[in-house]
């Protein structure tokens, strides 16, 4: 669903704004064929060449255009990491990187098609805004906003979605009031809500973990905070620690484990294996809160 929404919204942006360009590396190229027919100079499919995809985006940005680029997360980020670092960041230009697949949507394809480390990799670089939508209806506004400036933006699309969209997920948005704070990033919200049923916790949601809403975190944290993220566990540990500097607190970071799960199945199977389904989350949170 998120991928379809991305294709519709980006096709609309290409129609509306001549500054917008799209660079593909075969993934989703067929879905953008109508846009490519209308805008052959701005919808570019470089073939299975992800380094070039990012380099071309950097070059387009150097001429004043606003490039969007798109592939599976492991190819757009892991494989092309140095291009993101140098062809965008070091050149002082930006782009909008829209990935699919996330941590384990490609469950049956295996680890080659999975990128639990994408957000952690971007955390080593300067100036990336990271959106992790929890529902497909949150995606179009992210893309429209990103089209209007020149900064570096990452939009991490996933198969897993929450039941409903939250229009104002850029900051921490409180959905349940209690005492210890549990922060759910993107599609982790519904499992977190289910996992914390009956527990005395505050549940806050964000679909924009970078920049992390440090002010909101300081306001909402009393003494304990649990971060639940759909990518590598602990990715936000430094950001949370920085936000809470000087405040005595205990923190737990839940997310995808480092150990490769050499099994196939569905994303639900992998969520369960990493303890990111509702029962797994509940067990971890109850254990942490004592």
């Amino acid at each position: 669903m998120m991928r379809d929404t991305f294709i519709t919204a980006t096709t609309g942006l290409l129609d509306d704004d001549p500054r917008t360009a799209l660079v593909l590396a075969d993934i989703s190229a067929e879905s953008f064929a109508p846009a490519r027919d209308r805008h052959p100079d701005r919808v570019l499919n470089v073939g299975i060449r992800e380094q070039l995809m990012v380099g071309v985006a950097g070059g387009l940005a150097l001429t004043g255009m606003r490039p969007f680029l798109h592939s599976y997360a492991p190819f757009a980020v892991d494989r092309a990491y140095e291009q993101l670092k140098l062809d965008l960041g070091h050149q002082d230009v930006g782009a909008v990187v829209v990935s699919i697949g996330g941590s384990y949507d490609a469950s049956a394809e295996g680890y080659t098609h999975q990128s639990p480390g994408d957000v952690a990799l971007l955390d080593t670089l300067e100036g990336w805004t990271v959106h992790v939508p929890g529902h497909h209806d949150e995606v179009p506004a992210m893309l429209r906003t990103a089209a209007r400036h020149d900064d570096r933006v990452y939009v991490r699309l996933a198969a897993q979605e929450n039941d409903r969209a939250y229009a104002d997920g850029g900051r921490l948005r409180v959905l349940r009031r209690g005492s210890p704070l549990v922060v759910a990033v993107g599609p982790m919200l519904d499992p977190v809500l289910e996992a914390t049923t009956g527990l005395d916790v505050t549940v806050a949601y964000t679909n924009t973990p970078r920049p992390l809403d440090a002010e909101g975190l300081r306001v909402l944290t009393e003494s304990e905070v649990v971060m639940v993220e759909p990518y590598l566990a602990g990715t936000s540990a430094a950001a949370v620690s920085s936000a809470l500097e000087g405040l005595p607190h205990r923190a737990m970071h839940l997310g995808v484990g480092r150990t490769e799960v050499r099994r196939y199945g569905s994303w639900r199977d992998h969520a369960r294996a990493h303890g990111l389904d509702a029962p797994g989350l509940r067990a971890s949170i109850v254990d942490f809160l004592g």
Partner: protein, 224 residues
């Protein structure tokens, strides 16, 4: 600092002014004549037009050994000759690899090999999409730089899309395993010319004409 007053023989003193513990010195001068011909005879760019949207673009992909690049830019008035002193120092805008954010007239920051051609393809596509049909894009690489696989992604795509971009490979035979069969064989679908990298008139004749598809100029110089 007026560009037209500078003669090629003034480059020697400028080069000698570039001091400090500069790395990769031997390769620097391999590019001097190509760079001079580009900035003196081919490129439509001056210090006054470094931000003009329709300026010709020159991208130094081979960021190693930038002394010749800096000397030519200084000779053409893109920055003061005094900048050539103290290369690589804390207070110098000039590093051992160029940074576009620090140096007027430098289109891309490079150093890590294999990035310029992909960026150049993007620049040429961006110019085409915006209707700057007279604007040309040139990328300078080294023969050893072609070892980086990223170049070959750009070479194939430029050929497939008949992109009007000019790549100049300065060949000083520094690629560890060489290019049996020649460098041109790695650029299928490109127009190709091979010239003496120190013959300024021949370089000009190779670089000046416009092509309706990608164009490779191999500038051969003495082996490193």
């Amino acid at each position: 600092m007026t560009a037209t007053a500078v003669q090629p023989d003034q480059l020697g003193p400028l080069l000698s002014r570039i001091t400090g513990d500069q790395k990769h010195a031997p390769s620097a001068h391999s590019t001097l004549d190509v760079l001079w011909v580009l900035y003196d005879r081919v490129l439509r760019i001056t210090p006054a037009t470094v931000d003009a949207p329709d300026r010709d673009r020159f991208l130094l992909s081979k960021g190693h050994g930038p002394a010749a690049y800096y000397a030519v830019l200084a000779a053409k008035g893109f920055f003061p000759e005094q900048w050539l002193d103290g290369l690589g120092g804390w207070d110098s805008p000039l590093g051992h690899h160029p940074d576009r954010v620090r140096i007027p007239g430098v289109e891309i920051g490079t150093g890590s090999l294999g990035h310029g051609l992909g960026l150049g393809v993007g620049v040429a596509l961006g110019l085409r999409a915006q209707g700057f049909s007279r604007t040309r894009t040139f990328v300078l690489l080294g023969d050893a730089e072609l070892d980086e696989g990223s170049n070959h992604e750009a070479i194939a795509y430029a050929a497939a899309t008949r992109l009007p971009i000019t790549a100049i490979v300065v060949d000083n035979r520094s690629s560890t395993h060489g290019w049996p069969g020649g460098i041109a064989a790695r650029f299928p679908g490109w127009d190709v010319s091979v010239v003496d990298g120190h013959d300024r008139d021949r370089l000009e004749r190779a670089l000046e004409p416009r092509h309706d598809r990608p164009n490779l100029v191999v500038a051969e110089v003495e082996p490193k």
